[in-house]
Symmetry: C2
Subunit: 434 residues, 2 copies
Amino acid sequence: MQDRSKVVVVGAGFGGLAVARELGDDPGVEVTLIDGNNYHTFWPLLYQVATAGLDASDVCFPVRRIFRRQPGVRVVLGWVTGLDLDRREVTVDNDRTFAYDHLVLAAGTVNSSFGVPGVEEHTFPLKSADDALDLRTHLLAGFERAAAGRSPQGDLAVVIVGGGPTGVELAGSIRELVDKVLCREFPEIDLTHLPITLVELADRVLAPFHPKLSAAAAHALRLRGVTVELGVGVERVEPGTVVLGDGRRLAASTIVWAAGVTASPLARRAGVELGRGGRIVTSADLSLPGRPEVFAVGDIALPPGPPLPQVAQPAIQGGRHVAAQIRARLAGAPTRPFRYRDRGSMATIGRNSAVAEFPNGWRFHGVIGWVMWLVLHLVELIGFRNRASVLVNWVWNYLTYDRGARIILRHQVPPATTQLAWPGSRPASAPDGP
Amino acid sequence: MQDRSKVVVVGAGFGGLAVARELGDDPGVEVTLIDGNNYHTFWPLLYQVATAGLDASDVCFPVRRIFRRQPGVRVVLGWVTGLDLDRREVTVDNDRTFAYDHLVLAAGTVNSSFGVPGVEEHTFPLKSADDALDLRTHLLAGFERAAAGRSPQGDLAVVIVGGGPTGVELAGSIRELVDKVLCREFPEIDLTHLPITLVELADRVLAPFHPKLSAAAAHALRLRGVTVELGVGVERVEPGTVVLGDGRRLAASTIVWAAGVTASPLARRAGVELGRGGRIVTSADLSLPGRPEVFAVGDIALPPGPPLPQVAQPAIQGGRHVAAQIRARLAGAPTRPFRYRDRGSMATIGRNSAVAEFPNGWRFHGVIGWVMWLVLHLVELIGFRNRASVLVNWVWNYLTYDRGARIILRHQVPPATTQLAWPGSRPASAPDGP
């Protein structure tokens, strides 16, 4: 035990998990994996939790279970409150200190308002399972409120800011929830023309994709009844209103901010050189310049060369790479530069519609893209149980246009209460993310 | 539309659902179903949500979905704040009034502390999905806290007050969670002797069952390592301590109050004659004496004759009966007395162990009882999707000793926070039930 090299990994996202999994069976290494949640979030499917297609435990995986068979990995639940790269120590929750021989920073990103006024107060983020449950509750409770005659129908409008995969997938999924499920269950309200608007500053959605696929995605969204506003930014957000850069005002009871992210505050705390988006500048081997024992992987890292897409694959590949470099260093061998292998990108617009592109130039959209998306995401999901449960839900949803997780939790008003706290008002106590 | 008779049903539990389902296809009737949640709770499985075997959407069913194909049923989300039996009006959330020709009160029960001091402040109830999620979070966070060295191991002790089915099933399920799952995933702490105590005032658990089955259940619990304290009441509950009637003090970080229920406060509000447990006294046909247009079903009702068990079957049968009586009254026919047909009772102690008894005298315990329990509950669950999802989870849990829903939600502490709110402290804002 005493001879084992100590590796501390901060963050149980795709990057951190990959490092810990690779090193977990290595008898010469003791891994400590630190995360603020006791679960790993499969965030590519968070939008389905927000739109009631899946439940939280379908996309959240207990970290301790993942490493049950790897006793070389110690799991620590807590937030990193101190980072001393000179003394090689990480402090968790102010009072627990972990010394390391190698450190891997894999804390990812947090939502960024980019300084737009009103974003933090009046919009919903979609970065965590809690965010997704809050958004789901808000959406569903809004329909109930309208059914009770407590809000004019226009109040149900949805504005999503940000035309990346999250914004596109969420817009398509909310449209489907409204048109295929809720319109049949809320005879009290006319939902046929409920406005859903996607706002994107760039002149196309899904900017990292080929322009033809961006156009196909925007076309598919518009066909479904989503208004796609391109080339316009958001000036500010007021309660119930998004003010666009061109002065237009979009009324909406639900405003989702999916316009971008910035590196986790952990990057700043490290006291090292930061680049674009607050990311940690790394050498080609993903170690920090001048600190060969510290690595950064995933969305918190900014390696040299062309920017990497902020999706799961670069984080997973980066994590595996860092694990190999730590092994190399322990064996006294030189490290190697990280090379990202693009395995393609996908985004889904809704039932029977997705876009997919591959590095060899193959591009798909429509049904074929959708089937590919479905299979790939099922394969990528960790753990049989969740895979089977997700599959059951998906097949059921597809056949019946149903969304089973459509339950409004934690908004009970006891019968004796006279002052009514209506569901849908965002709870003041809900953690709003950093 | 104008000629349709108005039936208002308060409560979407087993009883209320049965009434609405029966009358929903009747062209002569317009049903308004009122509930404070937008979902029906299959409460016999709530303890599995509390112990991370199932997720909330596995046991909660959106009410609007249940009645999607019955447009004669209007679903109203809200709490009944007023009840005027003379004017035949129900008021919801203080401002929405529904007139009725027939009224069905099916609001069930709420937890009762029976006046024991400290119960409301220091114990967890298990009556709703929110309760189950709160308890799950508290339990899991307690283990994380112990793993972080923040609490002596004794702090993990669990005391469950109440030896009815809920208490017995919860005790067995927590024991299994600890012994089969958590002990493998928390190498930091020694969980082999974690005390779990079940306290019951009567001299046996599962009092409505045959004494032989009560003895078998207590024996099975003890074999598994649950301390069963019979014939002793709870004097009061202090923070972290249960004080028994004989003066003994049981230290526990988790105290669950499953000792009993009382009729919903709605019963009092009705201004009618109440009987034992605050229940509404009804005539033999389940209508209220002197008010033939008002019925009470399920646990809120106290019909003449021997007391009915407070489980799903009497509520379901009562609901169907009331629907038939309303139809009879609309046809000018006389009503009939309600006769409960006992179809048997079951309770599970854990993996491979349950007790079951049938009115013909058949009694089972052990593996056979357990298989019967499993099949029956699967059959009873409403809706294919949830049934399939529950089945997947059960098979997976059985084969792997796993609990997939083991995620601590809504307890994030943002990294920038210095004052640490540790998960597991019960959120002050959580609704604690009436």
